[in-house]
Symmetry: C2
Subunit: 310 residues, 2 copies
Amino acid sequence: MNEFELIARLTKELPSNQTVLAGAGDDCALLDLGLPDKLLLLKTDAVVEGIHFTEDAPPGKIGHKALGRCLSDIAAMAGTPTAALITIGLPKYFEPEFVVKIYGGISALAKKFEVAIVGGETTTNPERLFISIAMLGTVARGRQILRSGAKVNDAIFVTGELGGSQKGRHLEFEPRLTEARWLSEHFCIHAMIDLSDGLAGDLQHILKASSVGAELLKTAVPISRAAKSQARTGTRAKAAFAAALTDGEDFELLFTLAGGDAVKLLDSWREKFPGLKLSCIGKIVASAGVTVRDKNGTRALSEHGYVHLS
Amino acid sequence: MNEFELIARLTKELPSNQTVLAGAGDDCALLDLGLPDKLLLLKTDAVVEGIHFTEDAPPGKIGHKALGRCLSDIAAMAGTPTAALITIGLPKYFEPEFVVKIYGGISALAKKFEVAIVGGETTTNPERLFISIAMLGTVARGRQILRSGAKVNDAIFVTGELGGSQKGRHLEFEPRLTEARWLSEHFCIHAMIDLSDGLAGDLQHILKASSVGAELLKTAVPISRAAKSQARTGTRAKAAFAAALTDGEDFELLFTLAGGDAVKLLDSWREKFPGLKLSCIGKIVASAGVTVRDKNGTRALSEHGYVHLS
């Protein structure tokens, strides 16, 4: 049983109640508690030393990343974050100053997006630092964007540039909260997700939830400077395009909207967010799976990279 | 810097916003998102292998305890739990069946109290199991009970029997949700907390938050059969009364209300909850600290036990 099979089994028959509009399986849980104009978003996310950051990562950046990951999930639903709780499992021997700096990184990012830190817990995790953050947010009723709304002939968009995040960006990324809310207010976005596992894997989440497929245009996928540099200098065996597809931790937005709105979106975006690239990388198609088109034809794409020439 | 000093430093200047009615420092965070009749409660709690349960604890009971601790905190605010998210850090090698059974324990307790499990995360924590649960709840506006409302001449009450929880009860306790809500609906409860650190420590949280002191009557403190048996058979150096004061993980309710309401409460309680003991164990006084009265006089009590005869 691999991780995804285990999760599928664990989440198969979870208890529910009448407040739940969307539970496990989207970026956040979506709850209706009776607010006339808003729905609630609930999310948790954990970062673990040696898995999500190295022992020598600066503590402020560890805190930034821990909170930023949750904020990125709120962004993926076009939500607004409200309040967070911080759970820290501390090794037996730790420097209090180190923990204070982690909180400093969390607090700085929280202030930027007016998120209240309303408590939490310190406990013991003897061998390594473990940080779990719980986040409450809201989304204007009717403006939430799920993974399941992609439609055939939608254009597929991605913000920013992909790949090579481990070179540094994974500790410093800006959650795309402002951009996601603007999108939901000005365009009819059909489906959205934030890129945490990598374009190839996260696009599949949208496709499966929406029962559609996708065709990507290879030259349109934006590749980060870090991924290009790693490929060019040979510091890494992975080609730049493969890195953009599978590296993960980009924390950019991936979304779809009707193909007819694509040009208008690109024009408005350039005016509103001149500093952040927006790329149309392909389109939604009826047949399941992902294909990538380049000058040599199309190839099928798995979550882990290419499968074969078709 | 000890744990409490660290927490004091971390929580000194946390970011806040206009939704926050109570942040760090009570059983749950209390938020006002504009629901006409309700406030929101937010809580996280973690259990770690080797700290909160032993390696050989049955997985269903580990799940029960993990969720039960959060529910007990919702109870301490007189709230109703709505939805929870489960974060599990798994060792490198684990039995999927073991994780499924943990979820079974969580789900069974969730169903009992109509709590939806709306997702979560599995991640890696190589050396030991780490479970963090985030809980959203509600409380009727005006019926929330904080730690800070205790008044001089209040009677102090505790549910159940205390001490010796490690013999088994800490994995099987029933969160006092129904009882707490009944209390808030029928009586003017001034302050409440759930007993997780032990009566001596948790009473101090109420006293400090309320700027008052307490006098306990030694013979009135209900001692569990487990604590008495451990003391009698000499399987443990701790006296039964000391165990009731300091063992922790009782997950009973400790609360105060006006002394004049005490008899009426005891009568109503016996009728409503005949199977659960309710004990009046002392009163709130003006001078700070806790004293314990017995036939030999009064002694000061620290969080860790007696200080001296006065």
